[in-house]
């Protein structure tokens, strides 16, 4: 039987916390920026001119049908050849934004579609233009309709970010891997970082529930 020894892991717990903090930061930034991207993507895909629609479609299909790992490689190793050199954490962040943007666009599109056509017509009859309608009439109900989908996509993204260590980004999984290669206490490290990811996803679920309660708490029928 293997002798568990968590002491070396907890001795270096600080380094894991630093990694976890980076994971949280990267995920949050990716979510906010990705969400903005998603909103424009969704609107572009629903009512943009044809070339825009095609471009958005290509973007969505390419990102959704290739592994995140490969997208990471691309942003880190291939972009320098195109003249854009990003550090590992920046490249990871960019990959996360681009990835979340693709999924988010599809989700937001469903949200926009769920806002009744009647509401959009009503907005027209009180004289609102396209952007006003989007901003004041569509956005909030659309977000409310797809809020669960958006938040679970975010959690999925945060967990998927555990592969960014392959391009030497320094997130929680990377901190765990480094600690592992120093102490060789692989199982202890993996158990601890799994628990940390779990704690983070629970915490985020809680925060999202709270945000949902306040931001989207208007009553609806049925």
């Amino acid at each position: 039987m293997y002798d568990f020894n968590f002491a070396p892991v907890f001795d270096s717990f600080g380094s894991l916390l630093v990694g976890a903090w980076l994971t949280v930061q990267m995920s949050c930034i990716a979510m906010v920026v990705g969400l903005i991207l998603s909103i424009f993507g969704a609107v572009g895909k629903t009512s943009g001119p044809k070339p825009v629609r095609i471009a958005i479609n290509v973007y969505i299909e390419v990102i959704r049908n290739t592994p995140f790992l490969i997208q990471l490689y691309f942003f880190f190793f291939a972009l320098p050849a195109l003249g854009l050199r990003l550090g590992p954490n920046q490249a990871a962040l960019l990959a996360l934004v681009v990835n979340f943007g693709a999924y988010g666009t599809e989700i937001m599109r469903a949200g926009v579609a769920s806002v009744g056509h009647g509401n959009i017509e009503a907005a027209k009859t009180v004289g609102l233009n396209f952007f006003q309608t989007l901003r004041y009439v569509i956005l909030k109900p659309a977000m409310r309709a797809v809020y669960p989908a958006l938040t679970s996509q975010f959690i999925y993204l945060m967990l998927a970010s555990s592969v960014v260590s392959v391009i030497s980004a320094t997130d929680l999984a990377a901190a765990g891997n480094d600690l592992q290669s120093q102490t060789f206490a692989s199982f202890e490290v993996y158990i601890v970082i799994t628990a940390m990811y779990f704690a983070m996803s629970l915490a985020f679920s809680g925060v999202f529930a709270l945000i949902g309660k306040y931001a989207f708490s208007y009553p609806v029928n049925r």
Partner: protein, 252 residues
């Protein structure tokens, strides 16, 4: 200012709406077949007819929610641009399904258009909104959300919201047919009240009581055409067309 010509006194009654030879297709299906309709300012018109006859389509064409393929529409003397993306601001509309914005309070619903589209100050818009809410007899509901109101109250909010834009013409598309019997009365009372003000009104409805009480003219549509057109007394008392007679027989 003084260099401008003094407006001439109008002899003929001013025309609110002039529709000439309107034709409208959905794809290959023709919904409106050369409809002509003229509505004087201050006139109150009721449109009825069987389901699918094109009533909704007709009034939606008036405020540009639907594009027409042929014919022309003049609103308050101006010809509507067929390619315009916005609706004419002096036409208010009340939908069958209310279409209130669910994430805004009653007051926010009423204030949105005036503030964003008419660029009225927030204070002024709020004051106007409160007046109209009083007018439709639900001033105390101002801070509730639509879902917290009964159907009749929601429809009255929709009316107030349309009025806040201070339109000269109001369109109603079966405003009471989504309501419980008791709530129908509340809304009809509100509408009768408005009619007394001399506002131009076009209302799609099957409520004969309402038609009798306020309509200057009743229009019967079938298959995308205006089949019969008369004063309420003559329309209900002595319908001319076979189709009208049949229809009245069934909804009675």
């Amino acid at each position: 200012m003084s260099s401008q010509p003094v407006p001439t006194v109008q002899l003929a009654p001013e025309l609110a709406i002039e529709m000439t030879q309107i034709e409208k297709w959905y794809g290959a299906f023709q919904v409106l077949h050369g409809v002509d309709l003229t509505v004087a300012a201050g006139e109150r018109i009721v449109i009825c007819g069987p389901s699918g006859s094109g009533k909704s389509t007709l009034i939606r064409c008036i405020n540009q929610l639907e594009a027409i393929q042929k014919g022309s529409i003049k609103v308050n003397g101006t010809v509507l641009d067929k390619n315009a993306k916005t609706v004419p601001l002096d036409i208010g509309m009340v939908f069958q399904q209310f279409n209130l914005f669910p994430h805004m309070t009653v007051l926010e619903n009423c204030v949105l258009g005036p503030v964003k589209a008419l660029k009225v100050s927030k204070e002024e818009a709020t004051q106007t909104a409160r007046e109209y809410l009083k007018r439709v007899r639900i001033p105390e509901q101002a801070d509730k959300y639509p879902a917290q109101l009964s159907g009749g109250q929601q429809q009255r909010v929709a009316i107030a919201r349309a009025l806040c834009m201070r339109p000269r013409i109001m369109l109603f598309d079966e405003p009471t047919s989504a309501l419980d019997p008791e709530m129908v009365k509340e809304v009809l009372d509100t509408m009768i009240d408005l009619a007394q003000d001399g506002m131009t009104m076009i209302c799609v409805t099957h409520e004969m009581g309402f038609a009798r009480a306020v309509a200057d003219r009743v229009i019967f549509m079938d298959h995308g055409q205006i089949v019969e057109e008369n004063s309420p007394e003559l329309f209900f008392g002595n319908p001319q067309h076979e189709r009208t007679k049949n229809f009245l027989g069934q909804i009675a």
